[in-house]
Chain length 474, copies 2
């Protein structure tokens, strides 16, 4: 039993074997368990609540709590019929690799703080540039997720268009940025955090396919310019989180260039799908963005905690983030060895996020990822076909990527309220899990296929599960 | 060899055993290896650079690269004589636990997304409130590190004092905030990101002990008010990163309250030391802060990636961060089960950072952590005693916590240049590792004891190592 911090190696092996056994069993039993075991805050607190523990607890006892409480009362994002939100299943290679990352405990602030880790991160950024059509001269770094990636992209945009903002703050100007009504809420949140204000995020109308209407964008920009505001940035969604709609990247890129606007693409959900055949065409001009957000912890199947921001022009990122402090001054190192990630993003301390990325891409290869993404898209289309062929469901939005929005329709009464009850009861049932969105005022059952374990059979099972629940509720 | 994403359980066990063996050997050999193996960017790229890999690579080969490249060419923050920056060694229990976190892959956006994980995070926040004297009604959450924690605290301060800022942005106002000349550069960076501007961060003078001079703070605030600026926040350092100086918490708290300023404490380096006897007195009034940053991945010995922000009044955090989007609307859940972490911080997706925190505190207990912190402080004081008793070194700043700043003095010539060379050559030698800061214009060798493996013998060895290097350089 470890009662001190520096655990002897033999005990580390023992603890590791026990933890590995728990992990292997988790993966073995995953497909057969409920996605979710309903519980309450009170019930969980009754088991885990206690004052800060003064003394030690034996490791096997802690492992018991992890198994009987944490494992049991978690929503299993790796379950083949977990379709909620935009949520990666993680993967076994990264599970094993995370132990090595935690042991090495490299703080990837700059090259000097972890030469090999820094080089691996820079390598994975080069891979993204190569795969997504960004120029070699572009820069980028890994952040904790898509919200921070969007924040970083908009911070670079703000500095590029308001060169004194870092020093002087935002004074007097009313900078305006544009995203569609389907844009992710992290865009508004980033605008709030950056001192731009949510009322300066203009909402561009979408067309019937829920994609940004570029004519409406042009109208808003002209209106704002005429009113003396300062349009500076347009944000396109390369896969909205609501329905997976892909904004027209090319026309928005052209508009942004001709109107001197920073062009940010929020590709947190969908950007990586550019490597799959089905998404190649709509994403062909992804590389024209001034900044692009990606979430490897979404469609690259990495465990949560890994977002990415790419900047076309590295100098714009430095203008937004570079500060200096004497105790971090790099002494005796020049050029590549003086590289500091803190000049390119909001964080100073940074975990070795690139280990997961490198390990998975090396382990399975890009082709396998591309095939898995393509199959996810195929599963969503298959669901859409099943719905369209049915007489009890209807689709509410096109399937651009792997998100599907639909509803149950065989109910006389308030369909919104019925589908809301349907979703909640389905979630509690544990067999399949959907989340929700609103499409043209209608409550939509919303699913996202983002799991290499999900098959077409799971899509059939989802509809069967919904029918069973609907029969109970009607 | 895994050539697909869904690795079978037997292969997971096999990969896990091999990774565990690497990890156990890492800990076994740690004390005997160099802190750092010098290399260059070119040398590393020659080994790892390649286009994005199309196909799979066998796991043993990847493990070989991790061992021969990543492990070998990393700076070992867990080495007992790594004294650079403010850097935790990590610990074996969290190394093992990280594998479980990666397998469960819980995205702790809100209670619903991971009931048990959310409750464990809320529990660890209660522990911090209990240990540091915050009221039960306070709130908090884990973030990726100290820079983000300071950012979150200042965002709450900004919203508290400028209630329309989230909606309208910062218009016209020149908000002013105050921190000492020794304050961390993440404060200035946060001000830049928040649209406040670095020139609105006023630098308060420090006294001879490098602690904030409250009279100078009063002078600056009065001057700014007279000039029509809007003082809104003062940031105290509970342990500066440069020398470990502790600002006078009580007098600053009193001043902030009587002048209607938000009181933020940057306790990223030192805050957790409040649980150790030596730091109890200067930190007695830590609980009076409106917001407090902590870094469990520093003096709680957690692996990197875990910062923490506490807010005295939860409503101030919600005012800064709460947004809403339909697809994240919580359906059918109320009260505790509707809790969303995204209302309290900048991120949406969030890894299960609390697992490390809970696991370590449960595993060893608060008493063991407190004793380890106390011993770290004792080691720094011991080094100071050795320096003061020597005739070839001199201290350059008092030892308030576990940071020690000193220099070699037996050199006729430019002492700054000589000590800079001394530090760089020591780093390259691999036996001990120091970083640097500037104290009253003097280049200081700067070390921080933040490792439960470090003993007084290591402090003696550090001076011996420096003497050896100095003899070569003289």
């Amino acid at each position: 039993m470890p009662d001190n911090l520096a655990v002897p190696a033999e005990q580390i092996r023992e603890m590791g074997r026990a933890a590995l056994d728990l992990v292997a069993k988790y993966y073995e039993t995953l497909g057969g368990r409920p996605v979710l075991q309903p519980t309450t805050s009170d019930a969980l607190r009754a088991v885990i609540d206690e004052p800060a523990p003064a003394g030690p607890t034996p490791f096997p006892e802690l492992l018991g709590t992890l198994r009987d409480v944490v494992d049991r009362y978690s929503r299993h994002n790796a379950h083949p019929r977990f379709f909620g939100y935009v949520s990666s299943p993680g993967n076994p290679v990264n599970t094993v690799g995370s132990m090595i990352a935690a042991a090495l405990n490299i703080n990837v602030t700059c090259w000097r703080s972890g030469p090999a880790a820094a080089e691996i991160e820079l390598l994975t950024i080069r891979w993204f540039k190569e795969l997504l059509g960004f120029p070699e001269s572009a820069a980028g770094l890994l952040v904790s997720g898509g919200s921070m990636a969007n924040f970083a992209g908009l911070a670079a945009a703000r500095s590029a268009k308001f060169p004194n903002v870092v020093r002087e703050g935002l004074r007097g100007a009313t900078p305006r940025l544009y995203t569609s009504s389907e844009g992710h809420f992290s865009i508004r949140k980033a605008a709030a955090m950056l001192g731009i204000g949510t009322e300066n995020v203009r909402t561009v109308r979408v067309d019937d396919n829920l994609r940004m209407d570029v004519a409406d964008l042009a109208r808003l920009v002209a209106e704002d310019r005429a009113a003396g505001h300062l349009p500076f940035c347009v944000v396109a969604s390369a896969g909205t989180a609501g329905t997976g709609a892909i904004d027209p990247i090319g026309p928005i890129a052209d508009f942004a260039r001709s109107h001197d606007l920073w062009f940010h693409i929020d590709g947190a959900y969908g950007g990586i799908a550019a490597i799959a055949p089905s998404a190649r065409e709509p994403f062909a001009r992804l590389g024209e963005a001034d900044s692009l957000s990606l979430d490897p912890h979404k469609w690259l199947y990495l465990p949560v905690g890994c977002g990415c921001i790419l900047y076309r022009d590295p100098a714009t990122a430095r203008a937004a983030f570079s500060e200096n402090a004497d105790y971090t001054r790099v002494v005796g190192l020049e050029n590549d060895e003086a590289f500091a990630f803190w000049d390119y993003g909001p964080e100073l301390s940074r975990p070795f996020r690139a280990l997961d990325l490198w390990l998975l891409l090396k382990s399975v290869g890009v082709t396998a990822i591309s095939e898995a993404i393509e199959e996810n898209i195929a599963c969503a289309r298959y669901l859409s076909d099943l719905v369209n062929a049915s007489d009890d469901f209807e689709m509410l939005a096109p399937v651009d990527l792997s998100i599907f929005c639909f509803r149950y329709k065989n109910f006389d009464g308030d369909l919104n309220a019925f589908n809301e009850r349907l979703m909640f009861t389905l979630q509690q049932s544990g067999s399949s899990y959907l989340s929700n969105t609103t499409v043209a005022g209608k409550f939509a059952l919303r699913g996202c296929v983002l799991n290499y374990r999900t098959t077409r059979k799971d899509m059939e099972r989802l509809l069967d599960d919904l029918r069973s629940v609907a029969a109970l509720l009607r």
